[in-house]
Amino acid sequence: MSVLVLAEHDQRSLKAATLHTITAAQRLGGDVDVLVAGSDARAAAEAAAAVPGVTKVLLADAPAFQQPTAESLAAVLLDVVKQRSYTHVLAPATGFGKNVMPRVAAKLDVAQVSDVTSIESPDTFVRPIYAGNAFATVQSSDAVKVLTIRTTAFDPAATSGGNAPIEAVQAPTDAGPTKVVSQELTQSARPELGSARVIVSGGRGLGSGENFKLLEALADKLHAAIGASRAAVDAGYVPNDYQVGQTGKIVAPDLYVAVGISGAIQHLAGMKDSKVIVAINKDPEAPIFQIADYGLVGDLFELIPALTAELSG
């Protein structure tokens, strides 16, 4: 048995999601190799080599991977999996992994198991269905298991202590039919939503995008990332990359502060594994209170500035 992890990285370092995925890979037993497909991505490969328990790092370095596409990543991943007969191929269940991995699975004519939360054995996995209202244990009979990993279900692997060899692999010269024209990434000095230890999230109760500034002041105090419910995204208050929930990001920080969020099951699906949940809402009957450790009923426009001030004191 041999396991390959597709690394999500920024050419210089590994994204936290990759570290969680490596932990999941190690649960399978067997060798764990990491594929870094990048452009001038030696530093990211070295970061992967330093993770304890990684057997080997494969580096596919090509200009095409400056802005990789599903097509170009799937092509190199398929080559590597076929040539080296991996039995398991893993990637984080982030926008990155979700885009690429089904393409690889279909080309291999195997099923993909999405959003794995537990590895029971090399062929049996647990995954959430129906927005996490049920968990299915599934067994794969395919020769290669293609998995995306729910990062919140696995601890991150350590980032130092390992010393795996780095081996160059052939990268495709053809970038494929899709061109990345531009990227508009949300510029923020805050921690990444997917890996933040504290998250302050706003819902429709905020009333406008302008009012999210209230949350920013609180988030500054808490060194928190800012999230949002689907309702707030739908209403146009904040961009979609803020969205926490079934169809957005899945998070499990140490502290999740839900502000003006009623708590639809689709939102709970994305945050109910947080260690401590605080809910602030004017409606005492809001479902969010049923899962909150600390519920505070009242007007958020008074409570949030008061909370920010209390934390400064």
Binding site: A134, T137, Q183, G194
Partner: protein
């Protein structure tokens, strides 16, 4: 230019799903079913392409039991021109659906195929990407804006850190994200008209596709219940509890 849109009949998003006592799955008997919400966005986008004069015909396809005809009629009421049901009572997994759709695409020769990014029942988020792979077409997943000009598509995609714009030649597979559009409601006259629109029924066997499941579901359980419901009186008590009881603040 023909546009194909794939839709799935799922348990309505407002229904609180219940796990069956024997752990074999979730209760689907006597439960309200609807079109998967992301597929409504897909239908809307296809109909808008037609209204802009880019698409000449919108074909809605669903794979599943006979009852999915109802969902296809909804798509017809929203503006699709005709519908195809690939009828089977077998459990269909994403790879099997992608293969069925490939067979339909080969028959219908569309230039654009639009699917929801994810079905809210199995939450797999796979079918569009798999279809693109099987057809060897480019893919534009999680689309928040779609423009077709000549024989190329420009798509704004929702990515983890923001937005990414990609460009590719047609044909293309597009999967929809939330902000792509706001689907219309079907009007009564259009619901009546939809009853007369053509709906063709095919079978996996007729399309030459083996739909046998690759994943075996061993059991389905409810998630562990989270113990919540704690209350604090004011901001002072909240901060004190977060510091001293939960110990999540310094």
């Amino acid at each position: 230019m023909r546009t194909l849109v794939a839709i799935k009949r799922v348990i309505d998003f407002n229904v609180k799903v219940r796990v069956k006592p024997d752990g074999s799955g979730v209760e689907t008997a006597n439960v309200k079913m609807s079109m998967n919400p992301f597929d409504e966005i897909a239908v809307e986008e296809a109909v808008r392409l037609k209204e802009k004069g880019i698409a000449t015909e919108v074909v809605a396809v669903s794979c599943g039991p006979a009852a999915a005809q109802e969902t296809l009629r909804t798509a017809l009421a929203l503006g699709a021109d005709r519908a195809i049901l690939v009828e089977t009572t077998e459990e269909l997994q994403p790879l099997a659906v992608a293969k069925l759709l490939r067979a339909v695409v080969e028959k219908e020769q569309p230039k654009v195929v639009i699917l929801g990014k994810q079905a809210i029942d199995d939450d797999s988020n796979q079918t569009g990407q798999m279809l693109a792979a099987l057809l060897d077409w480019p893919q534009a997943t999680f689309a928040s804006k779609l423009e077709i000009s000549g024989d190329a598509a420009t798509v704004k995609r929702e990515v983890d850190g923001g937005l990414e714009t990609v460009q590719m030649p047609l044909p293309v597979v597009v999967t929809t994200d939330l902000r792509l559009n706001e689907p219309r409601y079907a009007t009564l006259p259009n619901i009546m008209k939809a009853k007369k629109k053509p709906l063709e029924t095919l079978t996996p066997a007729a399309l030459g596709v083996d739909v046998a499941p690759r994943l075996k579901t061993l059991k389905v359980v409810e998630p562990p219940k989270r113990k919540g419901g704690g209350r604090v009186a004011d901001v002072k008590e909240l901060v004190s509890k977060l510091r001293n009881e939960a110990k999540v603040l310094p």
